[in-house]
């Protein structure tokens, strides 16, 4: 056993340090967790996401107290009990709905930031992969949550998405039934997705968030120029403590300096968040889902929430089997980004030649796919555009490989 100061007063600083190494923990996680100084507000998106996840957990706990996971009771427990009878139930529901939508907006901003600044390679591969894992987990969490109000869109989205598991021409309908626990989405289906949404997936998400934080520790956070910072030297300069040495240091401690900026960005973000909660929440609560689930009445348009639209549109324009394969490729393609990108440079896209155009093209393609995913494919113009952009998305992978293969190394100081 380690040396312990036997005279230390119980729960005093010394006493806790002897047992928990509290001072060291605070240093490692806060005051001596070094972040590069050369960053912009996009570097706050991680903490904004953590805060949004916290808000989702808290609002979810309140909703869980009154939600009834049965096909007879679900719709009314959400739309009547929570909205009418529970004090401020509407507020928790709006926060949960808006949070679910905004968390994806921030995830996408976070993700495109990573791509733009090349923060996924040269030692940062695991940050990217764990982040993509979180994206998939959040997607599953969002989808399972969308089933719970048991409205028309819950039911039919559940029908369409579980149908995908029949594997096109494989016609594995028994597999689909196994997932649903019934021939169609019904009680077993709702119960399963309820369990996934409120227990298993949040548990895995929390563990993966911890893992995502851990992956940052060794390679450190990237900076605006992609510069390789000498963290030891900069940390030494910071700890010297004079104004001059701190100016010279290229890093800041996570707490309080980096955090002070994060919290300011969070403030701005929560103004938007609560503006939407009070005054513009319809976009996060689709009108179709205010009609109770009805297995005999297919809605005219079935579409997922906005954050799934781009991958949905990759599925749609092709024939059944090709669409499924394209869809599957699109789901995993981004995981492989660090290995497709062959460039030696970690630098913002603006400095990386053709990669700059690749980045903006990818953004435009994904926004176009998002829009087309909701537009009626019965319109021949939309259908044709859907096909063009879906093919373009799939070609972006090989294009990246070729572009980055020939990318010139940027000399230090250039």
């Amino acid at each position: 056993m380690a040396k312990i100061d036997k005279k230390a007063f119980p729960f005093s600083k010394q006493w806790l340090d002897d047992r928990l190494a509290l001072t060291t923990v605070m240093k490692v996680l806060n005051t001596e967790y070094w972040i590069p100084k050369n960053i912009n507000f996009l570097w706050a998106m991680g903490m904004v996401l953590a805060a949004t996840f916290g808000v989702l957990v808290i609002s979810g706990i309140f909703l869980l107290m009154y939600y009834v996971p049965t096909v007879e009771g679900a719709f009314d427990s959400v739309n009547y009990t929570i909205m009418t009878e529970v004090g401020y139930g509407w507020l928790w529901r709006h926060i949960h709905g808006i949070g679910a939508s905004l968390v994806f907006l921030i995830i996408y901003i976070h993700l495109f930031t990573g791509i733009y600044y090349g923060s996924y390679k040269r030692g940062r591969e695991m940050i990217w992969i764990s982040g993509m894992l979180l994206f998939v987990l959040f997607s599953a969490e969002a989808f399972s949550g969308y089933m719970l109000p048991w409205g028309q869109m819950s039911y039919w989205a559940g029908m369409v998405i579980t149908n995908l598991f029949s594997g096109g021409s494989l016609e594995a309908y028994s597999f689909v039934e196994w997932i649903r626990g019934d021939y169609v989405p019904a009680q077993a289906f709702l119960g399963r997705f309820f369990m996934l949404h409120v227990f298993l997936l949040p548990l895995i998400i929390i563990a993966t968030i911890v893992f995502h934080f851990a992956t940052l520790r060794l390679p450190h956070v990237n900076n605006q120029e992609g510069k390789e910072v000498d963290f030891d030297e900069s940390a030494r300069l910071w700890k010297e403590g004079t104004v001059e040495s701190r100016k010279k240091s290229e890093v800041i401690p996570f707490s309080p300096v980096f955090l002070s900026k994060d919290i300011f960005v969070m403030g701005v973000y929560f103004i938007l968040f609560f503006y939407l909660v009070f005054y513009n929440f319809d976009f996060a609560m689709d009108p179709v889902n205010f009609d109770p689930a009805d297995g005999l009445k297919t809605p005219a348009h079935i579409y997922p929430e906005w954050y799934f639209l781009w991958s949905y549109e990759i599925l749609r324009p092709f024939s059944k089997d090709v669409g499924l394969i394209a869809f599957a490729v699109a789901q995993v393609a981004l995981f492989a980004l660090p290995f497709i990108d062959r460039s030696p440079n970690v630098a913002p896209a603006s400095k990386r030649g053709l990669f700059k155009y690749w980045f903006w093209t990818l953004l435009v393609i994904m926004i176009a796919l998002t829009a087309l995913g909701k537009l009626p494919p019965t319109d021949p113009v939309f259908a044709a555009m859907g096909l063009v952009f879906a093919v373009a998305f799939l070609l972006m992978g090989p294009a990246l490989y070729i572009i980055t293969k020939f990318e010139k190394k940027i000399e230090e100081g250039a």
Partner: protein, 358 residues
């Protein structure tokens, strides 16, 4: 400043995406087109009933058929389309004549006293007793003068199926439950009864009363404990058995009424507790003004609400379907104010922390 530029780029792409998946996609999804691909704009006419929507619908149907006939090569199909065209033109002419006659009756001066006497024969059915007659419960008319448009009431007394724009439903053998009135009243009598309703049955209803008189015989409102038979009566359970026999009996009565109604309408009309969240404002307005514009062929009759009547019904739908609105309006500014101050303080703290760093 660089950060503001970056923020501008992020905001631009976020708002662009929002515009595309929300206003633009919803517009594209709900747009209606004629056979030539021209968009048909469905607009509200201020709850005035003079045959305008019928005329517009006929015009589209006729031009669609003419376009299809022009393109059809198969002689047999062409002949059947031409038959449809003749029918459509018949309907157009019939409706135009009907609404012209309604306008003529509108010119007459009605006598409320004479109208009251004639109205006595109406109370045989319109008695508020919740008795199903011919498929549906006749509506209570206590506030009819305030709820319904004058022209509509005239049209209804002249020919109920035409007025409610569901004449296609009764084209063959089926009889409108109020169809016996057709052609039995003189124009002067119609004017008298409508004048009577407009003068003596025109007390302003509450929002709920408006719904109860105009909608409830078909549409339940379970979030307000309202069924097709009206408010659910308070009953007591037997404390020894835990069963509430009166509630069971009432539930059975409702189930029977719903079965009759569903048989008559083709399906059970939906509960409207959440309809205000499920449909847009524009849909509600145009649909209630004339259900055929949004759902061609629907068996829902036009109920003939005036603008004031619609506003009452709408108010009730909002009360039940979106009850948190007052609380939102109250709490919103406080929460936003809190975050404004929070953000200002956070900015000051941040400036302090970053003061000497560069």
């Amino acid at each position: 400043m660089k950060e503001l530029k970056i923020f501008g780029v992020v905001a631009f792409f976020s708002l662009l995406t929002y515009y595309l998946v929300e206003p633009y996609a919803h517009h594209a999804m709900h747009a209606k087109f004629d056979a030539q691909g021209n968009e048909i704009k469905i607009e509200s006419h201020g709850f005035v009933y003079d045959g305008t929507t019928e005329a517009a619908a006929s015009a589209v149907a006729i031009s669609d058929l003419e376009y299809k006939i022009g393109k059809e090569k198969d002689a047999k199909l062409k002949a059947s389309l031409e038959k449809k065209l003749t029918l459509a033109k018949d309907v157009q002419a019939k409706k135009a004549t009907f609404w012209k006659e309604v306008a003529t009756i509108g010119q007459l001066t009605g006598n409320a006293k004479a109208g009251e006497a004639a109205f006595a024969s109406c109370t045989g059915c319109h008695n508020g007793l919740n008795m199903n007659m011919g498929g549906v419960i006749p509506p209570n008319l206590d506030h009819a003068g305030a709820l319904y448009d004058e022209n509509y009431l005239i049209a209804l007394l002249k020919d109920p199926a035409m007025a409610s724009n569901v004449d296609h439903k009764y084209a063959d053998t089926m009889l409108h439950p109020m169809g016996s009135i057709k052609g039995t009243m003189s124009h002067q009598q119609i004017a008298d009864v409508v004048t009577y309703l407009k003068e003596k049955k025109a007390a302003e209803p509450t929002a709920k009363t408006a719904f109860m008189e105009a909608c409830v015989r078909c549409h339940a409102m379970r979030y307000d404990k309202v069924t097709q038979l009206g408010d659910i009566p308070k009953t007591k359970e037997n404390i020894k058995t835990g069963h509430d026999i009166d509630a069971m009996k009432y539930a059975q009565k409702v189930a029977e009424e719903q079965a009759t109604l569903a048989g008559y309408m083709g399906k059970l009309p939906p509960d409207l507790s959440m309809i205000i969240r499920a449909r847009s404002e524009h849909f509600m307005e145009t649909f209630i003004e004339d259900p055929q514009t949004q759902l061609p062929g629907t068996s829902m009759p036009r109920v003939g609400l005036s603008e004031a009547g619609y506003e009452k019904v709408h108010e009730y739908l909002m009360d039940i379907g979106d009850p948190s609105k007052p609380a939102r309006d109250m709490a919103g500014p406080w929460v936003l104010g809190f975050f404004f101050i929070f953000t200002i303080l956070a900015y000051l703290w941040k400036s302090h922390q970053w003061k000497d760093l560069h």
